[in-house]
């Protein structure tokens, strides 16, 4: 039996917008084993990003349980969640979300600032992460000096640098052309296969989903079919 890394049980999530209560996820349950690469697909408003945010500890469910790596995160306060995220999850966004004032190397170093690591060790690790994504020679470049694909590689290096078990990716290729998107997806696939990272990726793109080991479909806040 495969070890479960992510366990989502009977999760409900609703938002209040003005006087209106919007229920986004309805009693959703999902299990993702360690080392899996899951693509979350579904139409806009289906709750993909909301589920990803809950798995990544960026938001809290209205009710239900979320357990990651054996640890319940649904009851954590914001400080505990911040600490948990720092050492357990790497994030990759559609628009890269690099800090424009920092070089690639310094952007990758950011998660390590929260550790007790010394300055030279932090930069060494940042450069190793950049080497994994093939951008060591661009370490001193600022985001505006990089292409979209290179920026996303820097973002992946930042997600990797603290060696988390889980990577959550929200439309990581949504802003890239096909060729660059394939390169990024190949990189994610490599991270999953060679480095054993568990990856949960939200995407609209069926071609992107093909790089995942399996695809989970959401519609109107409920789980549909799971395709291998």
């Amino acid at each position: 039996m495969t070890d479960t890394l992510i366990s989502v049980k009977n999760v409900v999530k609703h938002y209040t917008r003005g006087k209106q209560r919007v229920e986004v996820l309805h009693n959703l349950s999902l299990e993702i084993p360690k080392g899996d690469f899951v693509a979350l697909m579904g139409p806009s408003g289906s709750g993909k990003t909301t589920l990803l945010n809950l798995i990544g500890g960026l938001d809290q469910p209205t009710s239900g349980e979320i357990t990651i790596g054996g640890k319940r995160i649904d009851g954590m306060n914001s400080g505990q969640l911040a600490n948990w995220r720092a050492s357990n999850v790497g994030f990759v966004f559609q628009f890269y979300n690099l800090l424009p004032v920092l070089t690639a190397e310094r952007n990758v170093e950011l998660p390590l600032l929260l550790t007790k690591m010394g300055g030279s060790e932090r930069l060494k690790r940042a450069n190793v992460a950049l080497e994994i994504v093939g951008l060591k020679d661009r370490a001193r470049h600022k985001p505006k000096e990089l292409s979209g694909g290179q920026e996303q590689r820097v973002a992946i290096a930042r997600a990797l640098v603290s060696d988390p078990e889980l990577l959550v990716c929200d439309e990581p290729t949504g802003d890239l052309d096909r060729k660059t998107a394939d390169e990024i997806l190949t990189l994610l696939q490599r991270l999953n296969r060679e480095y054993g990272k568990t990856i949960v990726m939200v995407t609209h793109d069926p071609k992107a989903a093909e790089y995942a080991k399996r695809t989970v479909h959401l519609d109107k806040g409920t789980l549909q079919a799971q395709a291998a």
Binding site: A82, A86, N97, R106, L110, P111
Partner: protein
């Protein structure tokens, strides 16, 4: 220190805006340093320590002349070695160049101001020439005056008996100071009081202020009190103080300098507060998605709040240090060039400490609201652009 690179880079995110904000802070603290140094100087209490000479003026104001008949009475008091008098003449050179001209008795001047160095021949010429004038070396050099030439000087206070404000004097001597400090003060002129008293329209009975040389500087306070007590309840009540305090009073005539300085500083800091506060708030608003990214990576609310607050602190600290250093240089220059008035004005430890408090206060006022806002950023909303 590990966050320094992040804070420093964020500070210079928009270079032009950062420079302009920094320049406004530097200007604010430059003004703070200059004005606060003057305020501390003017707010200090009476200081008789080391005073070997006192100045006796009218209790009402030093612009109110004291009668010359008081001179022998003061001279006869215990502890008094010598007395001279200075009548402000209000001299104007050329079109509208203000001169420091005083009417004095040559012999008494020489005795009471041994710091002025001039040849015996020149002192004698000053004594024997009714229309004689002696000029300080700096005053003479600045205008190319030579001994022997006539100096047409207008008075903006005293008309001659014929009603004319135009006076003419013979330059009979150029005096220097005995040391560097006094040499720097050779900006004034002395005219012969005898001629002035005879020729001016208002008469000869007034003396301006009295300069009192003491037998013992340790007795300065006691002698000052004795002089003031002697003329208490007379038509000419006096205020006796050290030369340093008298020079302060020269400027204090324009009002309560401490209050004026405080009001200017409040206005300056309020303006800077609004400008810098608005800039900081705008800078944080622009960076909300970036702050959300930091939080996503695991930075806590407190860390993000602290980062923004430290950013404001660093900016204010740079502005304060540079501004205060410029103020110190300016004050030193002022003290060296106008030592008779500003010789003891300093941006001392008190002023630096006040600047430190002002800097902390300003940093908190401009940094805390955006820092708290940054700490409250909700990751999910900020990343979604809500």
């Amino acid at each position: 220190m590990k966050y320094f690179n992040l804070i420093w880079s964020s500070l210079w995110r928009k270079k032009t805006r950062a420079w302009l904000t920094l320049l406004s802070l530097i200007c604010a603290f430059l003004l703070f340093g200059l004005l606060q140094a003057l305020s501390v100087f003017f707010s200090a209490g009476a200081d008789f320590v080391g005073a070997s000479r006192l100045v006796v003026q009218s209790r009402v104001s030093f612009t109110e002349s004291l009668p010359i008949r008081m001179l022998p009475e003061i001279e006869a008091m215990p502890g008094v070695k010598a007395v001279s008098h200075d009548q402000w003449f209000g001299g104007v050179w050329g079109e509208n160049e203000q001169l420091f001209v005083f009417a004095n008795d040559p012999e008494r001047l020489r005795i009471t101001y041994p710091e002025w160095k001039m040849s015996d021949a020149e002192w004698a010429a000053f004594k024997n020439t009714r229309t004689g004038v002696i000029a300080g070396r700096k005053a003479a050099e600045a205008r190319g005056w030579k001994v022997g030439q006539k100096l047409p000087i207008k008075s903006n206070i005293f008309p001659k008996k014929d009603g004319s404000m135009a006076w003419e004097f013979d330059l009979v001597g150029i005096f220097d100071g005995i040391d560097e400090s006094w040499q720097a003060q050779t900006l004034g002129l002395y005219i012969n009081r005898e001629y002035f008293a005879e020729a001016n329209q208002f008469g000869s009975g007034f003396a301006g202020v009295f300069n009192v040389v003491l037998d013992d500087p340790q007795q300065a306070n006691a002698v000052a009190q004795a002089i003031d007590a002697k003329f208490l309840n007379s038509p000419n009540e006096t205020k006796t103080q050290s030369e340093k305090d008298f020079n302060k009073g020269f400027f204090a005539q324009i009002g309560d300098i401490g209050l004026i300085v405080s009001l200017i500083l409040v206005a300056v800091f309020f303006t800077i507060l609004i400008l810098t506060g608005n800039t900081m708030a705008q800078a944080v608003r622009e960076r909300i998605p970036e702050l959300a990214v930091l939080k996503t990576l695991g930075f806590s609310n407190g860390t993000v709040t602290a980062l923004v607050l430290i950013e404001a602190l660093v900016l204010c600290a740079i502005g304060a240090i540079v501004g205060m250093l410029l103020a110190s240089f300016a004050i030193t220059g002022l003290a060296e060039n106008v030592p008779q008035f500003f010789g003891s004005v300093r941006t001392n430890a008190t002023v630096w400490f006040q600047a430190f408090l002002a800097m902390i206060g300003l940093a908190l006022a401009v940094g805390l609201p955006p820092a708290l806002k940054a700490g409250r950023v909700k990751i999910v909303d900020a990343l979604a652009g809500r």
